[in-house]
Amino acid sequence: MKYYLRRIIFYLITLWAAISLNFMLPRLMPGDARSIFIDKLMRRGGEITPAMENSIDLVFGTEDSSLWEQYIRYWGNLLRGDLGISITKFPAPVTELIAAALPWTLILVGTATVISFILGVALGAIAGWKRGTAADAIIPGMTLLQSVPYFWLALIFVAYFAVQFRLFPIIGGYSLRDFPAGPEWSWAFAQSAMYHAVLPAVTIIIASVGGWVLGMRNMMVSTLSEDYVVTAEAKGLTRGRIFTWYAARNAALPSMAAFGITLGFVVAGSIVMEQVFTYPGIGKLMINAVQDKDYALMQGVFLVITVTVLAANFIMDLIYGLIDPRARNNV
């Protein structure tokens, strides 16, 4: 029990520190939203209308109150569930922006991550099991895919499968021509959404599966030289039983831990994928907020990510405490 109590206290302190950093860091960066906004207009050749002159300061103006007062107010708002108003997507509340983007991210990136993990661990286990044979030859191929920059891979996919062969859509989470009024509860819309998800999901899986395969394959190789595997073979257990229950099960442990953390980061979305496919999601909220100095949105997105990553770690810690007695004793 002491183990769990210590873990909980540790995580509460981490959470406080993370949320405070989340407040401080954006304010330590140079630059301000107003001049960035004006500069964007200037760069592309726009103009400022008389009406905008007055409202720019109202919307983008900096706060006069002290940092400490802002910090107290930040916590007060946070505890009330108020994350503030985005200024770059003015006047949308940050909670609404995140709530609208999160489901897309969770489901697409989450599913792709799970598929990639299962596929990677399975392939890795097989490659490790049949080390030195033809099956091992998938390793160099996987390393190649792993080292290809994701945005390049995604652009190539778009150029061929979407533009050249017209097999898949180029942008969006659903067809904008067929559903100009937005998402709706219908089979046709579901089809459209599924169809639009294929290319983004496939590119994410291709780009991330290699890492899992490599890790699993190497763990598998070292596990196979363990004494208990030799014992199992000596006992005359079937090869299938040794593969699943003695080798793969133990070899997958480190991958499981990494998977927990990866799942936590799913909420951060996939910045490049969302950019290339103009797919709805959290990643672009984050990058836009950082670029345009949108403090409220930045804090909101970082908060969601921090909390989820901490929660994922916490759950992994608890599970580890359960499945591995050594973890409980060492702390």
Partner: protein
């Protein structure tokens, strides 16, 4: 707006998307092609006059997803299409060419002798899209409400049922464009009910007089349809426009290639990749905003460095080989700027006789050396000129990731070296750059200035060259102040004052002449280029686009009123 129910819909959509992700390996889910393609215009016989049905015009005007519905003309984050498509000003000023303003909601205007009063005739028979009539009261409200608050306006009064008279505290000729061309007329009966004109979103059926009206909004796109009650029966001829939210130029290019985008203005290094199959037309026009190298030029206001010496700035400007920079860093798409900071061709009539109309494209190494030597500089053993221990050496900053500016800075290093000037090219983050520029903590930065939308250089002279529009180094500039160079010259200040008092072209031209002589001599900003704005448009399905010979508007898709005016002129082919 994103409501609770739309959240649920999005959740469902994403759930479905995820399920599809799972089955991605087992082949495609079988939906039928992305967004039915626009019907091929070529098949439906030759262009018949007055065709009333056709495809939806898909426009990319720079919106990124998620789109947040905001059609408030007073909000800085309003969506493209609000101004021009839904709300209109009194007159249309063509930014691409010289010419008289075209009447929209106004019919005529007349200044008083001294420029303190302006009478404007208001169009009879114009209606708001909710059916009510446009009245003089609406116009008065549009000039006097809290959000607009023009500080130079004393009062706006109704002269008769179709005439408004604006009275000013001071001669206001120079604000003519701001008053007539970019103050948008809003419905008093709708807006006066709002508590805060800046923060309301106006997302639910905005009431305007424009050629189009809003039909629906999502977080990925929004549509406007023809306003059947528009005051001009000749316009618009197309029925529907869809504004798409797209997160990157490469996606926009892909959509163009696949025939799913009809109109956009964006940077494409090699435009022939898009125009090759003949579907898209292409028009390049110079942006009115000059690309320049800002220099912190004024030691009296706290600037430091070799560039505070006029001779160094003159010599540096002379030694630059702008043609090479254009070719290698800007893909040859830029065009040379005028040293007088006017837009070449459009504004040439203002340039004082004897002053150059364009900066030199090639380098003048000997000329640059001579300027430095005449100013008392001597060539040091390190190959760099120096005077009283001050070496002709300074840093040119450019923003990290702006690859054109980064490349330009690198080229300047070697070009300047030929004339014994040491340039250190450094990159800074975007945040650092905006901060430095606001407070004057830099030596030189590759940047841009706001040019003037119409053919009269008054606002750029006032906002970027006068003492009132700058601050000492260390104090940030305010919103309207863009005198980044900290330039201060009594001759310029006085000439700007003079120009503000008159509507007499000859007097103005004389005042501008003094300013031009001063800034060509002092080079507080190093004039470089005007960026090209590249517009691509579907010429197979739609007709009536501006061309090189008929620049009836500046056709940039992101330029609210100009783009709306173009779209209201289009016809189906």
């Amino acid at each position: 707006m994103l409501t609770k129910s739309s959240w649920k819909r999005a959740a469902f959509a994403a759930l479905v998307a995820g399920v599809m992700g799972l089955s991605a390996c087992s082949g495609s889910g079988g939906a039928t092609g992305n967004g039915s393609e626009s019907p091929a215009g070529g098949e439906s016989s030759a262009a018949t006059e007055g065709k009333t049905e056709g495809p939806v015009l898909a426009v990319f005007a720079g919106s990124q997803t998620p789109i947040v519905a905001n059609f408030n003309p007073y909000s800085p984050t309003l969506l493209p299409g609000t101004l021009g498509s839904i709300y209109e000003p009194l007159f249309f000023y063509n930014k691409a060419d010289v010419g008289d303003p075209i009447p929209l909601l106004g019919t005529e205007y007349e200044w008083s002798e001294d420029g303190t009063s302006l009478k404007i005739g208001i169009r009879e028979g114009a209606k708001w899209n909710d059916g009510t009539d446009l009245t003089v009261d609406d116009v008065i409200y549009s000039f006097t409400n809290d959000a607009v608050s023009m500080d130079y306006l004393a009062e706006a009064v109704k002269a008769d049922d179709t005439t408004v008279e604006l009275k000013f505290k001071e001669p206001s000729f120079t604000n003519e464009y701001a008053i007539l061309g970019s103050t948008y007329i809003v419905p008093k009966h709708v807006f006066e009910k709002e508590a805060d004109l800046v923060t309301f979103t106006n997302a639910d059926a905005p009431v305007g007089t424009g050629p189009f009206k809003l039909s629906n909004v999502t977080d990925a796109s929004y549509n406007v349809v023809k306003n059947e009650n528009y005051w001009d029966p000749e316009r618009p001829k197309i029925n529907e426009v869809q504004y798409l939210g797209i997160d990157g130029n490469s996606s926009a290019e892909s959509l163009f290639k696949a025939g799913q985008l009809d109109y956009s203005t964006m940077f494409v290094p090699d435009p022939t990749t898009l125009t090759a199959d003949g579907r898209l037309g292409y028009l390049r026009l110079s942006s009115p905003n000059p690309l320049t190298i800002l220099t912190c030029s004024n030691a009296e206001l706290g600037c430091e460095g070799a560039q505070t010496d006029k001779a160094v700035r003159q010599a540096f400007s002379k030694v630059l080989n702008r043609d090479e920079i254009n070719e290698k860093a800007y893909y040859g798409h830029a065009s040379l700027a005028a040293p007088t900071f006017t837009l070449p061709e459009r504004d040439d009539k203002w340039i004082k006789d004897g002053l150059p109309k364009l900066v030199d494209g090639g380098a003048d190494v000997e000329g640059a050396k001579k300027i430095l030597e005449d100013a008392g500089y001597t060539l040091g053993s390190d190959g760099i000129y120096a005077k009283d221990g001050q070496r002709a050496s300074f840093t040119v900053n450019s923003v990290e990731g702006w690859s054109d500016a980064n490349a330009a800075a690198e080229l300047m290093v070697s070009q300047a070296k030929a004339a014994g000037i040491e340039v250190k090219a450094e990159t800074v983050t975007l945040d650092q750059y905006t901060e430095d520029r606001q407070v004057g903590d830099y030596e030189m930065i590759i940047s841009a200035l706001f040019g003037t939308p119409i053919s009269d250089p008054y606002t750029i002279y006032r906002n970027s060259f006068t003492t009132d529009y700058t601050t000492p180094v260390g104090t940030p500039l305010e919103a309207r102040q863009t005198n980044f160079a900290r330039y201060s010259n009594p001759v310029v200040d006085e000439a700007v004052q003079t120009a503000a008092q008159t509507n007499d072209e000859a007097v103005k031209k004389e005042a501008y002449g003094k300013i031009m002589e001063a800034i060509v001599e002092d080079v507080p900003y190093i004039p470089m280029f005007h960026g090209g704005s590249q517009t691509f448009y579907n010429q197979v399905d739609f007709d009536g686009w501006p061309t090189e010979d008929d620049k009836y508007a500046f056709p940039a898709s992101w330029d609210a009123l100009q783009a709306a005016y173009v779209m209201s002129q289009l016809t189906y082919k």
